[in-house]
């Protein structure tokens, strides 16, 4: 395996406070990797380390297969970043901002009409950023990070503050980008978003990575020994999913009145609770 980026035993402290504690994970090419955790867990700090905004105290970070200390400007041209504070120029229109970033990135910007269309901003392309809603600004900032077609995309809370429709637009676009081969590194405190978008997630708590796996695998790992059957007469029957519960399941199926049967699995918030003993 040759990961696109990796962290090995990375620690970082701000004065006496340890904000990242022996962090280790890797992200494969073409993967959508979610970094989950409550506010202050170290998600943004991790992105800052990976994008040269901060320098680690110890450990090893690799980007495009080489130590981050040796990553060149050309390597960073292959990256797109949407930070938690990304902002565009207020006295310029959405389109002018994107054309400006296209020039900065050395691309023609021929893809701008398509990008604007996909983000539902085509009709507003002449609107000045200062007259845009928060959702429009966020979507425009995301496009600015995408204008050069990056191989690797860092997104720090990309849907924070967006309404459900705008979130759906962003999710759709991220899925399309990921399907087209763009590697996505996403931080979020929205568990549903991570489950929806990410092939694997890392769960961060107070600077420590407490779990790293596929969302489905994490949920199965912490699944309860219980199945839930919904019967035609309106009853909901719970039984264990091991051998002891088999007769009850068999009986329900034999009666022909079983509408549904499924195992009881936790969502990622409950997984977090199981792992840390604390509410998310």
């Amino acid at each position: 395996m040759n990961p696109l980026l990796s962290m090995e035993d990375v620690s970082l402290s701000f004065k006496a406070k340890r904000v990242l504690d022996h962090l280790a994970f890797q992200v494969e090419r073409g993967e959508c990797f979610g970094f989950l955790g409550p506010s202050g867990a170290g998600k943004t700090t991790t992105i800052k380390l990976l994008t040269r905004q901060l320098v680690k105290d110890s450990g090893r970070i690799t980007l495009f297969g080489r130590p981050i200390e040796h990553a060149s400007n050309a390597d960073y041209e292959r990256i797109g970043i949407l930070s938690d504070t990304s902002a565009l120029y207020e006295r310029m229109s959405i389109e002018d901002n994107l054309r400006f970033y296209a020039k900065i990135r050395g691309v023609t910007g021929n893809n701008l009409p398509t990008l604007l269309e996909r983000m539902n901003l085509a009709d507003d392309r002449k609107t000045l950023i200062k007259n845009c809603s928060k959702g429009m600004r966020q979507r425009a900032a995301l496009l600015a990070a995408l204008v050069h077609g990056p191989e690797l995309l860092f997104l720090d809370e990309p849907t924070s503050g967006l309404d459900p429709a705008a979130r759906a637009e962003v999710h759709k676009m991220l899925r399309e980008l990921n399907d087209a081969g763009t590697t996505v590194f996403l931080t979020t405190h929205d568990m549903a978003e991570a489950e929806d978008l990410c092939r694997r997630v890392g769960i961060l708590d107070e600077g420590r990575l407490v779990a790293c796996d596929a969302p489905e695998a994490l949920r199965l790992r912490f699944a309860k020994n219980e199945v839930l059957m919904r019967l035609a007469d309106g009853r909901v029957v719970r039984t264990s999913k091991d051998a002891a519960g088999a007769p009850a399941v068999a009986e329900a199926l034999a009666s022909g009145g079983c509408l549904s049967i499924h195992s009881v699995e936790p969502n990622l918030e409950e997984v977090f609770l199981e792992l840390t003993g604390r509410e998310f």
Partner: protein, 244 residues
């Protein structure tokens, strides 16, 4: 190198357009011209003889010093602080733009604005047209120390509010030669201040003595301040850029 030129060029285009869009920048550029229009028409109009000549020299001084300090201190410093305050600077840095490229663009735009405003002031105060290129050149070269100082202070400023405070020393330093005639003994020191040489060269131009040996000392003072500012900028830039 090609990427650096491309990025600096893109920034330059954006910053040049911003001169007309940014109210702070626009006011800083229009104020010196407005002042000169006012002084020339409201005060200077009724003067004759030696008084008119002395007033004309005063306006030459005012044109150079007002333009240099207002555009450098207010416009350059405030616009960098605005970029920091509104997080557009961080977004630029994350797009692989370096602080050097951003500062080069801001500095060049400030000098271009100074050239245009100096030219406009020169025409407004009714000086002979043939002196215009020399006047603009004096204004631009003489403003380099203040522009470099303002770029450094722009890195230090956290927001536009702190930029207002930080611009005060630049304003005082830049406008100091104006007060040379008002404070006892200060006229001996004023020609050696950062804008003092520029001011003296402007006065010599207005008197028709620019291309004489009298211009050597102010020229040397101007170039010395440009060199000092460039060295100080190079020394301080790395630390300030990293910390801020």
């Amino acid at each position: 190198m090609e990427a650096t030129l491309r990025k600096t060029g893109a920034l330059l285009g954006k910053d040049l357009k911003d001169v007309a869009r940014n109210p702070t920048m626009l006011v800083c550029c229009l104020l010196p011209v407005g002042f000169m229009l006012f002084y020339e028409n409201a005060i200077g109009g009724g003067m004759e003889g030696e008084a008119a000549e002395a007033f004309s020299l005063l306006l030459v001084s005012f044109s150079l010093l007002f333009t240099s300090t207002m555009v450098a201190s207010m416009a350059t410093l405030t616009t960098i602080a605005e970029e920091k305050e509104k997080h557009t600077l961080r977004t630029l840095m994350l797009a692989n733009v370096s602080a050097e490229q951003m500062l080069a663009s801001r500095g060049l735009v400030a000098l271009a604005a100074i050239a245009v405003v100096d030219g406009a002031c020169y025409l407004v105060i009714g000086q002979p047209l043939e002196g215009l290129p020399a006047f603009v050149a004096i204004g631009v070269v003489g403003s380099v120390p203040l522009v470099l100082l303002s770029l450094l202070l722009g890195l230090v400023a956290r927001d536009q509010m702190s930029a207002g405070v930080l611009s005060m020393p630049v304003l005082i330093l830049g406008l100091a030669p104006v007060f040379a005639q008002m404070v006892d003994g200060f006229s001996e020191v004023a020609p050696f201040l950062p804008t003092g040489g520029m001011n003296e060269l402007g006065l010599l131009l207005a008197q028709g003595d620019l291309f004489t040996s009298d211009a050597l000392v102010p020229l040397a003072v101007t170039l010395a301040w440009v060199a000092v500012a460039a060295v100080a900028f190079a020394l301080l830039y790395r630390r300030l850029a990293r910390d801020n």
